[in-house]
């Protein structure tokens, strides 16, 4: 069976790690799938989905690491008004951070649960917040 759901939520910070592990686990439980796989995908281009250990210190280190790689004050070509939006594209850093972080994560489902390592948590990464964001969670299996 294939069970696909979407979740929409507000982020509150410019750069923010939102732990969505419970959302994904909940979607797996609701699907009733015992053996299979789950994929979580962001619908956006200035966000990411990743897996890491959910520690405040690591969140801080990752933010700093990304900020050094992709500084706010670089002369990005994307810093301009986009006519088809009718508004400024001030978010080149968000697009580039999204590029590094990727837009999805996969996990195996075993015995009805997401089979992840003890330190693994799933993060939705906001790089151009605050904003309203949507993710898709697809559970496949039986």
């Amino acid at each position: 069976m294939i069970d696909t759901t979407t979740r929409t939520f507000l982020t509150s910070e410019y750069n923010q790690f939102v732990n969505i592990t419970d959302l994904v686990s909940g979607a797996v439980a609701e699907s009733g799938v015992r053996e299979g796989a789950v994929t979580v995908i962001s619908k956006h281009t200035t966000t990411g989905i990743t897996t890491n250990e959910a520690l405040e210190c690591l969140e801080s280190d990752i933010h700093e690491f990304l900020a050094k790689l992709i500084p706010e004050d670089h002369p990005y070509a994307h810093a301009r008004v986009l006519k088809d939006y009718g508004s400024t594209a001030g978010n080149p850093t968000g697009h580039l951070k999204s590029l590094l972080m990727g837009n999805h994560a996969h996990f195996i489902i075993r015995d009805g649960e997401v089979d992840k390592g003890g330190a693994q948590e799933i993060y939705f990464c906001e790089f151009d917040g605050p904003s309203e964001r949507t993710i898709i969670i697809q559970v496949m299996g039986e």
Partner: protein, 299 residues
């Protein structure tokens, strides 16, 4: 769903308020229950792919920008375009949802035969605190007779006027109607009328500075980001197109922070104010004191 730590800004007194004087609430969720009106707003304002914004999101945005209050501007193009993108009643509805954060400005179309009555009602019954006009879209010059009665009403109620001056990204606009020099006679003939040239009347920034330095009842806001990033464009505006000393020495009581959001980026523009090389006391005036004076009257 759990989130990393976030820093909330502490409440502040009226004296250190940070105000964005130029916000268009066309896509605020509480006034977008009707899909037809939302589509009309996208088309009329030329803003697309942005969706609607919950008030919780607006408050998050304000917190990150450090803002305490917003001037919400109604937009009435009933003669120019046959539509009213944001009515006075809708602005009043939003103000009532957050009266400590929102200050409402009325919109009327000067060519509308009912404009005077609309404005009287907006000030008298709805309690809106100023008037928003767009000469380039509504096709009138500031001294045209159709607008004079509106100025009379503003003066009678001691309410300021926000003019969209200079270039506008909205469709069907002509910049010449909002050229700063067109406002000189208005400033000269109505010294009791406070009005703001949005975006310094860009690209006629020096012209705006000329009118402002002559007339203390003329203000300008910072709501322009036509090229580059907020850091690059506002730096250029305040160090090349205008000398920083002009603002810091002569115009410091007449410049207000405005973002023209959602057209431009409120958060990054707000953060730039502290990086322009202006005196701290000048930045404080731009952030809030001048807006309060614009709203309430010159001492």
């Amino acid at each position: 769903m759990r989130s990393g730590p976030s820093g909330m800004s502490a409440p502040c007194s009226v004296n250190d308020m940070f105000i964005d004087v130029h916000v268009h609430p066309a896509f605020y969720e509480p006034i977008n229950g009707d899909g037809c009106r939302e589509r009309m707003r996208h088309e009329t304002l030329g803003i697309h792919k942005n969706g609607t914004a919950k008030l919780e999101h607006i408050f998050n945005q304000m917190r990150l920008a450090g803002l305490d209050a917003l001037f919400l501007l109604a937009q009435d193009y009933c003669v120019a375009e046959g539509v009213v993108p944001v009515t006075n009643d809708e602005v009043k509805q939003l103000v009532d949802l957050a009266p400590d954060r929102f200050m409402g400005f009325a919109g009327v179309d000067p060519h509308d035969p009912g404009a005077n009555d609309k404005l009287e009602r907006a000030f008298g019954d709805l309690g809106l605190q100023g008037l928003n006009l767009h000469p380039g879209r509504q096709r009138f010059y500031p001294m045209d007779s159709c607008a004079q009665r509106l100025y009379d009403i503003c003066e009678a109620y001691n309410r300021p006027v926000m003019f969209h001056a200079g270039m506008s990204w909205e469709p069907n606009t002509l910049s010449r109607y909002g050229r700063p020099v067109e406002f000189e006679e208005l400033a000269a003939t109505r010294p009791g009328l406070r009005f703001c040239l949005s975006g310094f009347g860009w690209p006629w920034v020096e012209e705006a500075a000329m009118v402002m330095v002559k007339y203390p009842n003329v203000y300008a806001d910072t709501g322009i980001l036509h090229f580059d990033s907020a850091r690059e464009f506002l730096k250029r505006l305040f160090t090349h197109e205008l000398a920083a000393t002009w603002v810091d020495r002569s115009l410091r009581h007449q410049v207000m922070f405005g973002s023209d959001n959602p057209r431009f980026e409120q958060i990054r523009m707000a953060r730039m104010l502290d990086q322009l090389g202006l005196r701290e006391s000048t930045v404080e005036l731009i952030k809030g004191s001048n807006a309060l004076e614009f709203l309430n009257g010159l001492e």
